[in-house]
């Protein structure tokens, strides 16, 4: 088999359109249940769960899910913990606007690299130790905040704490060892969304902690430092829980994982080549920078913005800022759902339009947010902006699985890195210089979102079309098989390395929308040896 069943990125979830889209379980005929296994949930032949039972802590599958998303959530809390306390920190450390902006850029830049390394770490040590190592080695960086006494120190510590966002990789990797590939899409999407919520929760938690500590008699400049101990303790607690309660595989055996060789048998160089030379990859890297990227940037600036612009108390500003990040609990899954729903009738063209509409909506309301002069209006615009941007994140990953079959892992990784890069860029451009106010910065960011979402009109699939163009009339080129097998050379095709891609191509015919029934079967698609 050219592709290990269940390896990260091999998910075929939702591709037929006949399966329930947001499936919580996969029925027996499609994936046979292993009846000899004694687990809480029905499992397949590799003992991966076929069912997703949310309110269960059963070992090992659901326990892994909860350990995993809570670890990711904790890292989001600590990475953005400084943001709602900036009004206090900027007085303590005598920061200028550019210091604050640079720290924001630093907090999201570190994870661009750490996420790339994390994949290799998970391959070597397994996702459980990958997660535990990262979360416990970044705990000292959180505690370091108590030492910070200058702008340079502040930027450095935020940079180091930002490395912990690589728990995203361990989270997704760990769950693909525990859940069947047919439900992994929803499981991973839920975990990612709930983890991202940490960026919102922290805007609520930190000012609350600060208030409580102040009431015990501490000065403001000490209280914020003490408040940072709580995210630090969360790191340590989650690290210990992951190490004691977690396990790498359903059967608990790491060495088996290594024997099976989860490392893909495909050559990395080839996989990278086909990712990099597909122009659609770069368009989605750009787009994700303006959905996920602006979400991260806004997490960093929004509390301070409300505090200064509307003269609110610290915890009021924090509460408002929290609603931005907490919208993730429904907004991101909603984006994925909207993408799937539009695909039922309009196929891939529907998905592209959905993404464009959601992201442009987000951009428009970001622009309006910067212009809003009254508090109720600003809050309303902010909420619509958050739903638009976060739903766009979900919708993006409704399209990514179809961009490439062979290089899905690399493309997902590059898209994710694009998100962080976009965040660093927007913070650098709009929220670091004193040339314009934060309000103007938000408006410009809104304009940039709208502009950078336009390239999605250029994404064209010969077999499905694009936003404005129908599929190619050339019968040979306009087939899913042709698109996906073009990622293999003739030699590789002779070795039949592309047969999983052919299977995927057949299943992806649902992306033609309601025209599926009327599409003529391409002449060379059925393999001869069937």
């Amino acid at each position: 088999m050219a592709n290990i069943e269940g390896s990260p990125g091999s998910s075929m979830h939702g591709v037929t359109g006949r399966e329930p889209v947001l499936a919580f379980s996969v029925a027996s005929p499609m994936v046979p249940t292993d009846t000899t296994a004694k687990f809480d949930l029905p499992v397949d032949s590799e003992h991966k769960a076929k069912k997703f039972k949310l309110f269960s802590l059963a070992n090992p599958h659901m326990r892994t899910f909860h350990l995993s998303w809570i670890s990711f959530f904790t890292c989001f809390v600590s990475t953005f913990a400084a943001a709602p306390l900036v009004p206090i920190i900027r007085d303590n450390l005598n920061l200028t606007k550019s210091d604050i902006g640079n720290a924001g850029v630093a907090s999201v830049s570190g994870s661009i690299f750490s996420r790339l390394v994390m994949g290799a770490v998970c391959d070597l040590l397994g996702p459980r130790y990958g997660c535990a190592f990262l979360i416990m080695l970044s705990a000292p960086t959180v505690f370091c905040m108590s030492f910070v006494s200058s702008a340079g120190g502040y930027v450095a510590v935020r940079f180091m704490i930002g490395f912990s966002l690589a728990t995203f990789v361990s989270c997704q990797y760990w769950m693909s060892t525990m859940f069947n590939s047919k439900i992994i899409g929803l499981v991973n999407g839920t975990a990612a969304g709930w983890g991202n919520m940490g960026g919102g929760a922290t805007q609520l938690i930190m000012p609350l902690l600060y208030d409580i500590i102040r009431r015990t008699g501490s000065t403001p400049f000490s209280a914020w430092r003490i408040a940072f101990f709580i995210p630090g303790w969360l790191h340590v607690i989650m690290g210990i829980l992951v190490m004691t309660l977690g396990q790498d595989l359903p059967d608990g055996n790491l060495s088996a994982l290594q024997k099976k060789g989860e490392v893909a048998k495909d050559k990395f160089g080839k996989v990278l080549w086909y990712a990099v030379t597909n122009y659609r990859t770069w368009i989605f890297v750009l787009l994700y920078g303006y959905s996920m990227g602006v979400e991260l940037s806004t997490d960093n600036v929004i509390a301070e913005y409300f505090y200064d612009r509307f003269d609110l108390k610290l915890h009021t500003a924090g509460t408002i800022a929290a609603t931005f990040g907490m919208a993730n609990i429904v907004a991101r899954p909603f984006g994925g759902f909207a993408s799937d729903y539009s695909a039922r009738k309009f196929g891939m063209r529907g998905r592209l339009w959905t993404l464009w509409i959601l992201q442009t909506l987000g951009g428009t309301f970001c622009l309006l947010l910067g212009r809003a002069n009254s508090l109720p209006l600003a809050v309303t615009f902010m909420i619509i902006f958050s739903v638009g941007a976060q739903a766009a994140c979900g919708a993006t990953f409704g399209i990514i699985p179809f961009v490439s079959r062979r290089s899905l892992g690399v493309i997902s990784g590059m898209t994710g890195a694009g998100g962080n890069f976009g965040s660093g860029l927007t913070q650098l451009l709009f929220f670091t210089s004193s040339k314009y106010s934060t309000a103007t910065g938000l408006s410009y960011m809104g304009i940039m979102i709208i502009a950078c979402t336009l390239p999605v009109t250029l994404v064209h699939f010969p077999q499905w079309g694009s936003m404005f163009l129908p599929p190619s009339k050339d019968v040979d080129k306009a087939s899913e098989e042709h698109y996906y097998s073009s990622e293999y050379t003739e030699e590789e095709k002779k070795k039949n390395m592309h047969h999983n891609s052919l299977k995927f191509a057949e299943n992806s015919r649902s992306e033609r929308g309601s025209r599926v029934g009327s599409a003529a079967t391409p002449p060379n698609s059925t393999p001869n040896h069937v």
């Binding site: 005598n94 200028t96 550019s98 000292p140 101990f229 060495s255």
Partner: protein
Amino acid sequence: MAIRGFLLASFLLSCLAATCHGVTFSSLQDTLIVTASPQPGQVLKAGEDKITVTWALNTSSPAGIDSAYKTVKVKLCYAPISQQDRAWRKTVDTLKKDKTCQHKIVAKPYSSSNNTFTWTVQRDVPTATYFIRAYVHNSADEEVAYGQTTDSHKTTNLFEVQAISGRHVSLDIASICFSAFSIVSLFGFFFLEKRKAKASQTK
């Protein structure tokens, strides 16, 4: 006649509108003389050093100008150098939106002379360059006059405050302890499990 009436009405309306929009700094009368103990360029330590402020009505002001004066609020204000690149300390003419003077020193009932107050610089005052300004409020609690220790360009007679760092030895020690615990328990677990795995393999 009608035009004059109209002009008068619109003039009165615009005055009303001006007060509705909020009192502006440029409309205030500069009638108080305010002096403070810090020497120009002196560095005061927050939480330790004291400032003594004295204020009185400028004797050369026209008589009866202080008939509406009710209370005096003395504040610590940021000098222009500490406002650079820090929009949260911006000077704006509309006093409601002005962020120049963020630290209250004292509020006292108005009297034309013999006003003095000694204030210990509080521990939440940040490191910056300052001057002192006193606002006079009328019975409707609106600003009507002011006086400050510096000139109109805010360049003379400025002093500095050195803030507390907010760091404590106990915090530093706690921080080191928890960090060490985190690292030790991580590697402890890791090697313990490796040893257990080796032991069970050799069995």
